[in-house]
């Protein structure tokens, strides 16, 4: 999902852990205890979490770009205020998550550096362009909808600071999805041109939204370990199916069709069956060759570089003030 590249092996030297400590750790996990920052944890658990939480944080931050693209062109003040608030929330989500990752002994600067250097992954979905206003509706409805599906079980993830960040995030996400669906509803009840715009957006966003849950279980070698550590509570395919089941009726209510000729309701299981996902496209986008990968990273880099003088000046100002206060204190003594 927001950390789709979890299937890759975590790099770093192999560490042989003390089997007694490992067993005690697993017993705590099995007993549904939360692991807190200073507790003993296997190095692989720490690395997996750092990677997952930082990918998640990067996704929130890069995710501001496709929607930010429409803030100045929102069709009304109401829509503009809502979109602005949503994008601001996503920035906040990034901050909660970087802070959670920092409790594992990395710095935000280090993680951000990895993103800007193109060494870190973020969700493939944000490498698609937002061509029309209907795309903003689709992102809220589908992308935030998929995010919620993934994030609700993460509120019970075994690492305490991550779980707490997810609880805050989930509280805020529901507005995101509702505002997106409301945009879709308004377009679908509008002129034929507006409805066609909504249909076109759904056609383009549907498959990338399904890819957000990551590769199929048959190809996710690390899912098992993450499930044993209760970092993950559902597999990629389980979450994807939940999302499809929840979302298809919402799309049908809008009077839209899904770009999947194989989509059908399975009476016996009660699930919506969908066609084959183009995993080659997924891999391409994740590897940096999606429609907007280069643009997204360039925008983040520019924002970071343009803000450098502000951070520098703020630190210099704080240092100067501290020095002045110290001098006054000494003079008063």
């Amino acid at each position: 999902m927001y950390s789709q590249a979890l299937n890759e092996r975590v790099e770093g030297p192999r560490i042989v852990e003390d089997p007694e400590k490992l067993a005690a750790f697993q017993a705590r996990i099995d007993a549904e205890e939360r692991i807190e920052p200073n507790d003993w944890m296997p190095e692989a658990y720490r690395r997996t979490l750092i990677r997952q939480i930082s990918q998640h944080a990067h996704s929130e931050v890069v995710g501001m770009l496709p929607e930010g693209n429409w803030i100045t062109r929102a069709p009304s003040l109401r829509r503009k205020a809502a979109l602005l608030a949503k994008v601001q929330d996503e920035g906040g989500h990034g901050l909660y998550l970087y802070a959670a990752a920092e409790t594992l002994g990395v710095s935000r600067e280090e993680l951000y550096e990895q993103l800007l250097a193109g060494k870190a992954k973020y969700s493939s979905i944000f490498n698609y362009p937002t061509l029309t206003w209907a795309d903003i509706g689709c992102i809220g409805w589908l992308v935030d909808g998929a995010a919620i599906m993934n994030q609700i079980p993460l509120c019970r993830t075994s690492y305490g600071p991550y779980a707490r960040a997810m609880i805050r995030i989930c509280k805020e996400e529901s507005f995101h999805q509702r505002q997106g669906y409301e945009i879709m509803l308004t377009l679908c009840r509008g002129t034929p041109e507006q409805k066609a715009m909504a249909q076109d957006a759904l056609n383009r966003w549907w498959w990338p939204a399904l890819m957000m849950f990551g590769p199929p279980d048959s190809e996710s070698q690390h899912t098992e370990q993450s499930m044993r550590w209760k970092i993950k509570r559902f597999t990629n395919d389980e979450l994807r199916q939940k999302f499809v089941d929840a979302t298809v009726p919402q799309g049908l209510y809008l009077g839209l069709t899904f770009p999947d000729p194989e989509l059908r309701y399975d009476e016996t299981t009660g699930h919506w069956r969908f066609g084959k996902i183009d995993w080659e496209e997924f891999k391409r986008v994740l590897a940096g060759h999606g429609p907007c990968n280069r643009e997204r990273l360039a925008a983040r880099r520019k924002a970071h570089e343009d803000g450098a003088w502000v951070r520098e000046a703020a630190l210099a100002h704080a240092a100067k003030r501290r020095a002045r206060e110290r001098a006054q204190r000494i003079a008063a003594e």
């Binding site: 003993w40 909660y96 600067e109 550096e113 520098e312 703020a314 100002h317």
Partner: protein, 95 residues
């Protein structure tokens, strides 16, 4: 070139009068004043608070999880610290 690191602050929020400030997370900021502003933007976008404290993370001294046993276990045997340890005849009524 690596930039200088922004100091880390722990954020505590009082959600209603009458309640204690509670830890909600952390922010990076160059000084206390900006930490307060960042905490306001990050943690109180929906009326979550009436008051904010920010504390330099480096100023917090924490107990070591490895000392959990010696620090907290002795109280488990001191059941006489709880009211249920004492027997009062029913006729006396609620006490």
């Amino acid at each position: 070139m690596a930039e200088a690191k922004m100091p880390l602050w722990e954020v505590f929020i009082r959600s209603r009068t009458g309640l204690a400030h509670r830890h909600v997370g952390s922010v990076h900021a160059p000084d206390a004043e900006m930490a307060l502003q960042a905490a306001r933007d990050t943690y109180t976008r929906r009326g979550e608070g009436l008051s904010i404290w920010v504390v330099p993370s480096a100023a917090i001294t924490a107990s070591d999880p490895a000392d959990k046993g010696p620090l907290f276990e002795p109280t488990a045997s001191k059941i006489y610290r709880h009211p249920s340890f004492y027997e009062i005849p029913e006729e006396v009524g609620h006490m």
